[in-house]
């Protein structure tokens, strides 16, 4: 691939809140670009990107799927991502490797919680994005209200490039503010036929007003364009598009388009916008290499960037792993260089070597073998033995480690055991493979009961995993009731001295540590500082102290939950020339933690969920009352057409089985979504209950 053809590639993601129309939009894109010859529908269970059995049965996207299409002499690699928060890892890893994204916003509800979460993720990875306000054919749809929620909830400069012509069942097309024309879709041929016409008279004044806003905003990023404007009183379409692209890439503003994918209107201009405004691999500054020791993770400006260059040494990031009947497929985004099948690369994250067997371009669950990949490509490799999600593959000529990926912390646990004894090994292998594919899934063995504990992002996430275990690995399993993944922390500082001493006959053991334990803010993690001076604890024993605390912190002092958000500082200690050892210091550190934590006012934390209930107006009282009974804190109540959206923070513990209660309360007319928001201390009475249960 040459640099000139690299600018004809777009690697984009399509992302949104659940049911906003991501998969529906992707289906239209595949149809209009000629990849598929029919339009699949989510409700019919025959879409291209939802290929898993569970996706088709449930009508939701579970795993991100990669597809490739051609539009106007450009290649667009698209990743369709799930909307449900339980599968947020898929959005996370997709945004990490994409150059741009289309955010789909529902035309009735506007920005919804999952859109907000994904937006923040895209902010983290600096992903340029355009917004598509969808479902304008729906009853209650309102482009301008949905547009206002972009500013209110995302706090962005949203810049309309289109205005709708008509609304709900009268929605006919869009006003293109860049070229100042109307685009109207004709009936039939699944939306493939449309034509340009004059802007309708009733929209002319509004279009003029919005075009001025477009010029004011877009031209402010390009002084040469400003000069053209001052010179001629307007700018050419090319100049305006150049400015919109520059502003989109820098994030100065976010272009907004609109339509209804389901009714086949607005998708072709969206594809044009992807080419015109989202960056090619050569338009972005390149991926940053990982922070070195002592360097701030957030400070990217000081770090080297890998530019998209097919002739540079190879650098790629493994972002997804799937196991199917043919073996393990590792999805790799190639940032630089060229690689042929059979070549060997370094896994610089794990410091190993990997030989790349075959390489494929993926089209959902179908694959086409390719012999070579180069900068800008997304492909799946077969034959990698020890490469996980987030690992860097690089050439020995330039063994870089690329910026790491961050994974969400699971909030819900279930115990799982096979129904028959002879399935134990099969279950272990199956769960290990599933956990290898999904970094938001954790597997552990309960030390006391010996049970296998599966931790995930929600009830649906774990339900799908158990279902996959049955279908793909043939293991029928019994599962326990879902348990909240509580955490423990401390609420005041405490200094503890502990001496571990066994010096009665034989080789003795001696270690003394003095550790200061201090609470940190939420999400502060576990921080260690060594302040020992004068060698009172020899340097070679410091890692043992760290290890002891780390191991012990997994089992908190109150109810055995992992202890988080605290700092421990080793300030002093004592050692014995003969009887001290790494083991003695590890034991001392563990005991010091157990004793010290008890005196540092330990508390139990519980996950608090951000819950959004969409309910008809006449049931809003019941919904709010019920959320209050569940210890919920109502945040907002917003009207959207004839429905009310109630947003509340509710402890996860109180949300198990909520869907059936909500359905019976509202005669099945309300729906809800929830996502993890933060950890909060549990009330005293509930803490006592949790502790007595764990005792």
């Amino acid at each position: 691939m040459t640099a000139s053809s690299l600018d004809k590639i777009r690697n984009i993601g399509i992302t949104a809140h659940i049911d906003a129309g991501k998969t529906t939009t992707t289906e239209r894109i595949l149809y209009y670009t000629g990849v598929s010859h029919r339009i699949g529908e989510v409700h019919d269970g025959n879409t291209t990107t939802d290929y898993m059995d569970q996706e088709r049965e449930r009508g939701i996207t579970i795993t991100s799927a990669a597809v490739t299409c051609e539009w106007k002499d450009h290649r667009i690699n698209i990743i369709d991502t799930p909307g449900h928060i339980d599968f947020n890892i898929e959005v996370n890893r997709s945004l990490r490797v994409l150059d741009g994204a289309v955010f789909i916003i529902e035309g009735v509800a506007g920005v919804q919680p999952q859109s907000e979460t994904n937006w923040r993720l895209a902010d983290r990875y600096n992903v340029p994005r355009i917004i598509f306000i969808n479902k304008l054919d729906r009853t209650g749809a309102d482009f301008y209200r949905a547009f206002d929620t972009l500013k209110e909830k995302l706090d962005i400069v949203a810049l309309p490039l289109q205005l709708p012509i008509g609304i709900e069942d009268q929605f006919l097309g869009v006003v293109d503010l860049v070229e100042m024309k109307a685009i109207v879709w004709e009936g039939g041929e699944l939306g493939a036929k449309f034509h340009d016409e004059e802007i309708p008279a009733d929209l002319a004044e509004k279009a003029k007003e919005y075009r001025q806003t477009l010029l004011d905003t877009a031209l402010s990023v390009d002084d040469a364009a400003m000069e053209e404007y001052f010179d001629k009183g307007d700018v050419s379409v090319e100049t305006l598009k150049r400015c919109i692209k520059a502003g989109t890439i820098s994030g100065a503003f976010r272009p907004v388009l609109c339509g209804t994918a389901f009714k086949n209107k607005g998708v072709q201009p969206l594809l044009d916008a992807v080419l015109d405004y989202l960056p090619s691999p050569v338009d972005v500054p390149g991926i940053a290499v990982a922070a070195e020791e002592g360097q701030e993770e957030s400070d990217e400006s000081e770090r080297r960037r890998i530019k998209a260059d097919p002739d540079a040494p190879f650098a790629g990031l493994a972002f997804k792993i799937i196991n199917d009947k043919y073996g393990t497929l590792t999805f790799v985004r190639v940032y630089a260089g060229t690689l042929k099948s059979g070549d060997t690369v370094l896994n610089t994250t794990r410091e190993g070597r990997e030989r790349v067997g075959r390489m494929f371009q993926m089209h959902a669950d179908k694959r086409a073998e390719i012999k070579e990949v180069s900068a800008g490509d997304i492909a799946a490799f077969v034959g990698l033995k020890d490469t996980g999600t987030g690992d860097t593959l690089a050439s020995a000529d330039d063994p870089v480690v690329l910026e790491r990926m961050a994974f969400p912390v699971p909030v819900i646990d279930i115990s799982v055991e096979p129904k028959t004894k002879d399935s134990v090994e099969k279950m272990t292998i199956g769960l290990q493979k599933l956990a290898g594919e999904d970094p938001s899934l954790r597997l552990k063995t309960d030390q006391e009961s010996g049970q296998t504990i599966l931790s995930g992002m929600g009830e649906l996430h774990l339900e799908i995993i158990i279902d996959r275990l049955r279908r793909e690995y043939g293991v029928e399993a019994n599962i326990g009731a879902p348990q909240v993944a509580y955490r423990e922390t401390i609420s005041r500082p405490h200094t503890e001295i502990y001496t571990h001493k066994k010096q009665t006959g034989g080789s003795g053991q001696f270690a003394e540590v003095k550790i200061v334990f201090e609470p940190l803010e939420r999400n502060g993690g576990v921080v260690f500082e060594n302040q020992v001076v004068g060698g009172s604890v020899p340097r070679e024993y410091i890692p043992a102290v760290e290890k002891g605390i780390k191991v012990q912190a997994d089992t908190g002092v109150l109810a055995g939950f992992p202890t988080v958000d605290f700092k421990y500082t080793l300030v002093d200690g004592k050692y014995h020339d003969v009887d001290s050892s790494a083991l003695a210091f590890e034991i001392a550190a563990k005991a010091c933690f157990r004793e010290g934590m008890k005196k540092a006012s330990p508390i139990i934390l519980e996950p608090i969920m951000d819950v959004e209930v969409t309910t008809p107006q006449d049931h809003v009282g019941d919904v709010v009352g019920d959320l209050n009974r569940r210890r919920g804190m109502i945040q907002t109540q917003d009207a959207a057409g004839s429905t009310i959206m109630v947003r509340a923070h509710v402890p996860l513990k109180e949300m198990f089985g909520y869907i059936s209660d909500l359905r019976s309360m509202t005669k099945g007319r309300a729906s809800f979504t929830m996502q993890f928001h933060h950890y909060d201390p549990v009330p005293r009475n509930i803490a006592d209950e949790i502790m007595s249960r764990s005792a």
């Binding site: 075009r211 004011d216 402010s220 000069e227 404007y229 001052f230 001629k232 009183g233």
Partner: protein, 107 residues
């Protein structure tokens, strides 16, 4: 689209990120070539010595002047006619229109 009646050109510039430049002001000249209006980028906060200025702008002679009271958030440009501030706006083209409107009123 109605064209502007004045001859607006780029005024003072400063170095931006990398090889780019950042325009600090746009100056409007009349047909006789006399500068009659300016729109000026608001800068700040700026720390100079022991003092900190929340918002400053360049005056006609390119001296930094402190803006008091500080403009509200989102007001990134000042529209100036004859040394007087006649409006402020988030974007330079909006400020240009303020300046032109002020000139029209005084005409």
């Amino acid at each position: 689209m109605q064209g502007p009646r004045l001859h607006w050109t780029r005024g003072r510039i400063e170095a931006g990120e990398g090889d780019t430049t950042l325009t600090r002001e746009w100056v409007a000249y009349d047909d006789a070539g006399e500068p009659i209006a300016r729109v000026v980028r608001i800068l700040g906060p700026i720390h100079a010595g022991w003092r900190s200025y929340r918002a400053v702008a360049l005056d006609d002679d390119a001296r930094l002047i402190e803006l008091r009271p500080s403009p509200p958030d989102g007001a990134g440009w000042l529209a100036c006619v004859g040394g007087q501030v006649v409006g402020r706006a988030a974007l330079p083209l909006q400020a240009v229109r303020r300046a032109e409107a002020a000139l029209k009123e005084t005409a």
